[in-house]
């Protein structure tokens, strides 16, 4: 072998890219990607500890019947817009559909038993409900994501007589822009249009306003 014809050595082979065929270059790369993806799925997604969750099935936000949307605006949790319709179950399993309450004022109250301001305002809501029971008015308490037993314990503890429904998977809370900052109340007129949104515990003035509006 003629030494002068030999190549110079490759001093940094790791800096060079080389295509050696579809299978051995692209195929191997794809295999590596799939292996990493499988490992991620195995350890982070499939992990049985990360299971659970709620699927409320048929319950949640439903389409507002066309005949009940006279203004033609899309439902949204905004003053002046039709309230998004929902179908939710009570702790005892009875279904309640918001649009079925048309013709009366509705104070939609989002609450949870862990929420201290909710506990504070609940007696006021119960009193309001009792005071206006002869009027076309109802309070609907929407429990945010708690178990039926928890909601039932709460309602029994405070002796509530107005309807309570369960937003088990939080979909209705989301549609009404209600996060963990509870309570939130919305006053709907007899046409299902949102007239007021109250953030936080209802003040005496707010309760008086609800009472005044519901009396019109």
């Amino acid at each position: 072998m003629d030494g002068d014809n030999l190549p110079l050595p490759d001093e940094r082979p790791n800096r060079r890219r080389e295509y050696s065929g579809a299978g051995s270059t692209l195929g191997v790369a794809m295999l590596i990607v799939l292996a990493v993806a499988a490992a991620l799925w195995w350890f982070e997604v499939r992990n049985p500890d990360s299971g659970g969750g709620v699927d409320s099935g048929e319950f949640g936000i439903v389409e507002l019947p066309q005949g009940l949307n006279r203004g033609g605006q899309k439902p949204a949790a905004q003053v002046g817009r039709p309230a998004p319709d929902f179908l939710l179950a009570s702790p005892e399993g009875a279904d309640t559909r918001l649009s079925a309450l048309r013709g009366q004022w509705v104070l939609l109250n989002f609450w949870a038993s862990w929420c201290e301001p909710c506990r504070s305002e609940t007696p006021d809501l119960q009193s309001l409900s009792v005071r206006l029971k002869e009027r076309p008015f109802t309070v609907v308490g929407v429990n945010q994501q708690e178990r039926p037993a928890t909601a039932r314990e709460f309602t029994e503890s405070f002796g509530l007589t107005y309807p309570i429904v369960l937003d088990r998977d939080g979909e209705v809370s989301q549609a009404y822009r209600v996060g963990r900052g509870l309570p939130v109340s919305l006053l709907l007129d007899p046409q299902g249009v949102i007239r007021k949104i109250y953030l936080g515990r209802l003040s005496a003035d707010a309760l008086a306003e609800v009472e005044r509006m519901a009396a019109t």
Partner: protein, 565 residues
């Protein structure tokens, strides 16, 4: 990623080669940088623009209601943004696809670089051009006795693997290598870097960390600010301050109930050992023992208050006493609540005196109580106590640690104690502010002193409702403990730990197992050395020093000798 200027080894042009075209694209540095720039841009947009909550995906009515709310901010752009998927970027197939292409491109680059490296390690070039002995960056030449055998011996002594490749016309050609496989260290290091990036992305987008204050007896609270089907509730079942036989605190632990939907997990968290549920870790972060549960019922029977009163570290300083009878039986031990304040004669507070009462059963379990009147104020840096009543004909003053005896009882002033105390302005049934003080006598249990509901301070024992003149019933439902619980999830932590290990391995291989590759031409007159080593290495000097050890007289240069000296 392909960023160097070295020419890319392209596939042979043999007609149409779609895979080769794909490879050229994926290994192209500009293409890779464009992909990364797009991913960063859309990632930023996804952070700035509100994203559709998980619970609403797949529900057209819910999504439509949510999108309508966005019109406040985006007006006429809302529709087009929705159609472009700007409200669901992180779930958009094209965004996921973008990242998949980036990952594939990075992997293709790594695989494409791996092959030449592996070939260089396992099938090294054993012979080099004659020219290389004159041009190599690391080279040396010198005379020495013993010929090729001496060189081979010297190299083997330095842990080289030596091979005599060829001999011709009295000239021997050697190939030697040491730690050739350490070249893989570079790949291990780069893989570690890639894993750090993957781990960081996972931590950033899948990580969670928030701290909650949880009280015993309260309902579970949601950990996510946004409601959704995967919401997790955590409830404090029992918060414990562990003490040993001598009263020293040994640990804090929390027994938790964690629920998601209808699944519940109970676990115990300690300071050093968090518990896990649903992929989240629950760390003990704090401990509180100043909580009280109070229930208030209106005259009409309506429960108007049923909550935990959080004293929130607010406290007042009061004296603590131990009362024992003649046989040494402890009848009372604890702090006493302040019942009133004697404001003295001056307008200031310098002569204010706090007033209280020390009441205890005359014998263990007795319903008959004996009471002493107490007063206390701070004198200098000491809380001085006055005690009167009982068999004392005149008030006695007590400093910390002092005791007085009276008709078969001994009263010892243990010193000042801080007890939870809180003013509440809007307690149902109260006309004005109400002050709570929480005391704890081991013999009779915790009591809640309430000032402001009646003329006198009322003491509420646990689970014993008391009806006041206003018609309201107040029930102290017990003193509660609570804990700060730090909830965390870090899906990237495994990657980061593995990456740290790989980085240490890779750097260790690179720096502590220095790769050497050497070609030697041994002629009867002179030996020529040319080799490859990492840049910082002074490989030429290594070779010259080896020559000196072989008996060469012309191997070392003056600078080698100076440095040795």
């Amino acid at each position: 990623m392909a960023t160097d200027a070295r020419p890319v080894a392209t596939p042979q042009a043999a007609g149409l080669d779609p895979f080769g075209t794909v490879w050229r694209l994926l290994a192209n540095a500009k293409f890779a940088l464009t992909l990364i720039a797009l991913a960063v841009l859309f990632g930023l947009i996804g952070v700035v623009v509100p994203q559709l909550p998980e619970a609403m995906r797949g529900n057209a009515a819910a999504k439509a209601a949510w999108i309508e709310l966005r019109r406040d901010d985006y007006g006429a752009f809302t529709g087009p943004m929705d159609r472009l998927g700007m409200f669901e970027i992180f779930q958009a197939p094209w965004f996921v696809g973008l990242w998949i292409v980036i990952i594939v491109a990075v992997t293709v680059c790594a695989v494409s670089r791996f092959r030449p490296t592996a070939r260089s390690i396992h099938r090294p070039q054993r012979e080099v051009s004659e020219r290389y002995f004159e041009t190599a960056h690391h080279r040396a030449d010198y005379t020495h006795p013993g010929g090729a055998a001496t060189v081979e011996a010297a190299l083997r002594k330095r842990r080289y693997r030596v091979e005599r490749v060829r001999e011709a016309d009295g000239t021997a050609y050697l190939f030697a290598e040491r730690f050739g496989w350490s070249h893989y260290g570079t790949f291990v290091s780069h893989l570690a870097l890639l894993m750090v990036l993957v781990g960081s992305v996972l931590t950033k987008f899948g990580g969670y960390n928030e701290t909650f204050a949880l009280a015993e007896g309260n309902p579970g609270i949601p950990i996510f600010a946004t409601p959704g089907g995967g919401q997790i509730f955590v409830k404090m079942v029992d918060a414990v301050r562990g003490v040993d036989a001598t009263g020293n605190i040994v640990d804090f632990r929390s027994h938790l109930e964690v629920t998601r939907g209808d699944r519940a997990v109970t676990c115990t968290s300690t300071v050093n050992d968090p518990c896990s549920a649903f992929g989240y870790k629950f760390h003990q972060a704090a401990f509180f023992d100043d909580l009280a549960r109070l229930k208030v019922t209106a005259p009409n029977g309506q429960v108007v208050f049923d909550q935990v009163v959080d004293f929130n570290a607010k406290s007042t300083i009061v004296p603590a006493f131990r009362v024992t009878n003649a046989v040494g039986q402890v009848l009372f031990e604890g702090a006493v609540a302040q019942l009133a304040t004697d404001t003295g004669l001056s307008d200031g507070r310098e002569d204010d005196v706090a007033l209280g009462e020390l009441a205890f059963p005359v014998s263990s379990g007795s319903d008959v109580y004996l009471a002493y009147a107490l007063s206390w104020r701070v004198v200098g840096s000491e809380l001085r106590v006055g005690i009167a009543g009982g068999g004392f004909d005149q008030p006695r003053g007590l400093s910390q640690g002092e005791s007085v005896a009276d008709v078969g009882f001994r009263v010892e002033y243990l010193g000042p104690r801080a007890i939870p105390a809180l003013r509440v302005d809007d307690l149902p049934g109260a006309d004005g502010p109400v002050t709570f003080q929480l005391t704890n006598d081991p013999a009779s249990g915790p009591r809640l002193a309430v000032a402001g509901l009646s003329e006198d301070v009322a003491f509420l024992s646990a689970n014993a409702p008391v009806e006041f003149e206003n018609g309201y019933s107040y029930e102290f439902r017990g003193r509660l403990d609570g804990a700060g619980i730090d909830v965390r999830r870090d899906p990237g932590d495994t990657f980061l730990w593995v990456a740290v290990g790989m980085a240490m391995l890779g750097l260790g291989m690179t720096f502590y197992l220095p790769r050497r590759r050497l070609w030697v031409k041994v002629t009867p007159a002179r030996s020529y050395f040319a080799g490859i080593a990492e840049k910082p290495a002074r490989y030429g000097r290594e070779l010259r020093r080896m020559g000196a050890e072989m008996g060469s007289r012309d191997a070392l240069r003056p600078e080698d000798v100076r440095e040795d000296g």
